[in-house]
């Protein structure tokens, strides 16, 4: 593992105009500050050193006169942040999508919400805001007045091309969404098809945008824990845990050991029920209803465990700043372990099924293939990456909670098709059951919560958590008051949406739901 110093010295040697290295309160994180044009060179240096480096997120922060743009690059298992500042009077910066195509949506989002222009971006336009949002109102700037929007709306004359079935030459445009039985949440995908072959896919997201990043700046840290939990119902504990870890890093406190184990238990329960939800949903999309019904019936074991542990089936409200909110009583543990044993037995059946059922294999093998090179270029995360032989898992790269003390395997498959992605999730359920058993057996005694002050000292921190869908990334900056200065969340589906366009092109239109569901999209997370 390359250490932090090595990366810093390489960057220092090769760059030279590197301005100053900002110290961060967390160990192992690197942050350098460069001039506005040099960020591309810094990125190229990091890519030369490690061909599997990728953009994790691009954050914008309003600093008054300038806007700070931070490129968080994921390399060698850690995050290297390249910071640069852009004056508000001339908000232009060069794009990096020619080096890393996966930064497309990240840059578009910063452009949309802060008003920057990325020169050379292949497809500028709105991403999360609606088409008729007023042109010069940028919500995440500190001086934006978001009042009286109704009277300031733009007039949009024509919506995008291809209403319903217009024939341009030989290509027909089929619009999938925003309401469509294949999608559980609304997003629009314009597919240009030629007969049955899909030629081009254009995603348009932002239908569920609720402005949570702005809302987080107006609530206290304690209220923000509940707010970020509600970004996504399925991976709610991961959002809460990530945010709490970031705030604890700023404060310099650590949750007690028992709390870390309890957090691990809830996070793994989240993972089990999310993967089971997806496998059942995949069964429904390819027309295999008994798989859906059986999987969701067995998922109830995980939901009941979650309910007895945290008090609620879906939104756990269990993790808080400084630990967890409730304790797990000793007498409940045997019942939980009995439920886990039933689940493990059922998983043998499902693994057998996915490996041997002929019609299931006909629908998922060889469908929606994502090659390893494309996976690296598009900076995908989670089971989508692990199904294409990219070995990345935050629990192994930068262990958080109690993962450094619990042994487990990282699952990866090499085929890169929908079947591989479904098998990754199935095996991860087995691993999670083992992690849970280990954690329940070795739960340390002690306090489960420390009291923290309500006012957080000034500072900033990054925290990552392996949500069921991939790497979840939070950046929190505090200015010494009870309200945060900036909270940035980059959810895993946001990083994976581009790969959908890539894997759907060239395939059948009938394969679109099957390959789509294997990506496990969660649009509430994407749009925030």
């Amino acid at each position: 593992m390359t250490s932090v110093e090595e990366i810093l010295t390489t960057l220092g040697n090769k760059l030279g105009e590197k301005m100053l290295q900002t110290p961060t309160p967390q160990l192992g994180k690197v942050s350098v500050r460069v001039n506005a044009g040099i960020h591309r060179d810094a990125l190229k240096i990091l890519l030369d050193k490690d061909e599997s480096a990728g953009i994790s997120a691009i954050t914008g922060v309003d600093l008054g006169e300038t806007i700070e743009v931070m490129y968080h690059v994921r390399t060698h298992g850690i995050i290297v942040t390249i910071r640069t500042q852009v004056p508000k009077k001339d908000p232009r910066i060069k794009t990096i999508t020619d080096i890393l195509p996966g930064a497309n949506f990240h840059e578009k989002e910063v452009a949309d919400l802060f008003g920057l222009t990325f020169e050379g971006h292949p497809d500028p336009g709105r991403l999360v805001l609606p088409e008729d949002w007023p042109k010069d109102l940028f919500p995440l700037r500190k001086d934006a007045e978001i009042t009286n929007i109704e009277n300031k709306k733009e007039n949009i004359t024509a919506l995008d091309e291809g209403n319903q079935s217009s024939d341009e030459g030989v290509l027909t445009t089929v619009i999938m969404g925003p309401q469509h039985p294949a999608l559980i949440e609304p997003e629009k995908f314009s597919l240009k098809v030629d007969g049955e072959i899909v030629k081009e896919v254009k995603p348009r997201i932002g239908y569920v945008h609720r402005g949570i990043e702005k809302a987080a700046e107006k609530r206290t840290y304690l209220q923000d824990v509940y707010l970020v939990e509600r970004i996504c119902g399925i991976c709610n504990a991961c959002h809460a845990a990530c945010f709490c870890q970031a705030v604890e890093a700023i404060m310099g406190t650590e949750a007690p050991v028992r709390a870390k184990y309890l957090r691990t238990i809830v996070l793994e329960l989240n993972r089990i029920q999310s993967h089971m939800l997806l496998l059942g949903h995949a069964g429904l999309e390819i027309g295999y209803e008994p798989l859906f019904q059986y999987m969701w019936r067995d998922r109830e074991i995980a939901m009941d465990t979650m309910e007895s542990l945290t008090g609620n089936r879906v939104i756990a409200s269990f993790v808080t700043i400084g630990g967890v909110r409730r304790d797990l009583k000793e007498e409940r543990i045997p019942k939980i372990k009995a439920g886990l044993a039933t689940l493990k037995r059922r998983m043998i059946f499902y693994k057998n099924l996915l490996e041997s059922d002929p019609t299931l294999k006909m629908r998922t093998k060889g469908v929606g293939v994502l090659e390893r090179q494309d996976a690296l270029k598009l900076c995908v995360v989670g089971p989508v990456a692990r199904g294409s032989d990219v070995k990345m898992d935050v629990r192994k790269d930068e262990p958080y909670a109690a993962y450094d003390k619990i042994p487990f395997k990282m699952i990866s498959y090499t085929e890169g098709d929908s079947w591989a992605r479904l098998m990754v999730r199935l095996d991860e359920i087995n691993e999670s059951i083992d992690i849970l058993n280990f954690a329940l057996d070795n739960l340390p005694t002690g306090p489960y919560r420390v009291r923290v002050p309500r006012i957080v000292p000034a500072g900033e921190a990054i925290s990552r958590v392996e949500a069921p869908r991939g790497e979840l990334f939070y950046y929190v900056k505090s200015n010494g008051t009870a309200y945060p200065e900036r909270v940035k969340m980059r959810t895993p589906t946001f990083a994976n949406i581009l790969s959908f366009a890539h894997i759907a092109e060239g395939g059948n239109i009938a394969d679109v739901p099957a390959s789509f569901v294997s990506l496990d999209p969660c649009f509430s997370c994407t749009d925030r």
Binding site: R219, T220, L222, Q223, V225, Y226, L227, R230, P290, L291, Y294, R297, E300, D304, E307, S308, L309, T310, G311, N312, I315, S317, R325, R326, F349, N352, L353, E355, S356, D357, P358
Partner: protein
């Protein structure tokens, strides 16, 4: 050697499921077993309240409103805005807000979803 053609296990499973009891819970004919820690409706004990207002300022959903009851400020709970996170119960320094597992709160009358602080007659909320 010889590759065994694995038959899909679904063939047997589907047949065996016909003879099992359905997994559906027959709610509301059959009452469910409610787990102990379920976060249901809050119970407010007015005699312990000291009018500090911490519950209202900490509520993430802004569902608690401090109203004037007989000269003192007491919390009024708007259950239609509440997300049942129980931060109010944690923030209260005197433990005046207690939890319960009563969850069947649906109603056609909006005023059923408000817990009004009242002294003397009913201790706390209507059940």
């Amino acid at each position: 050697m010889t590759k065994k053609i694995k038959l899909s296990p679904m063939l047997k499973e589907v047949v065996s499921q016909i003879f099992r009891v359905p997994a559906t819970q027959k709610y509301p004919t059959v009452r469910p077993k409610v787990p102990e820690g379920l976060r249901g409706k809050q119970i407010f004990d007015i005699n312990l309240c000291i009018s500090c207002g911490l519950c209202a300022s900490d509520c993430p959903a802004k569902a608690i409103e401090m109203v004037n009851v007989e000269g003192k400020k007491r919390p009024l709970f708007h259950l239609d805005r509440c997300v049942f996170c129980y931060q109010c119960a944690e923030s209260c320094p005197r433990n005046a807000i207690k939890d319960s597992t009563f969850f069947e709160l649906a109603s056609t009358n909006k005023y059923d979803l408000v817990i009004k602080p009242e002294i003397d007659h009913e201790k706390g909320s209507k059940e």
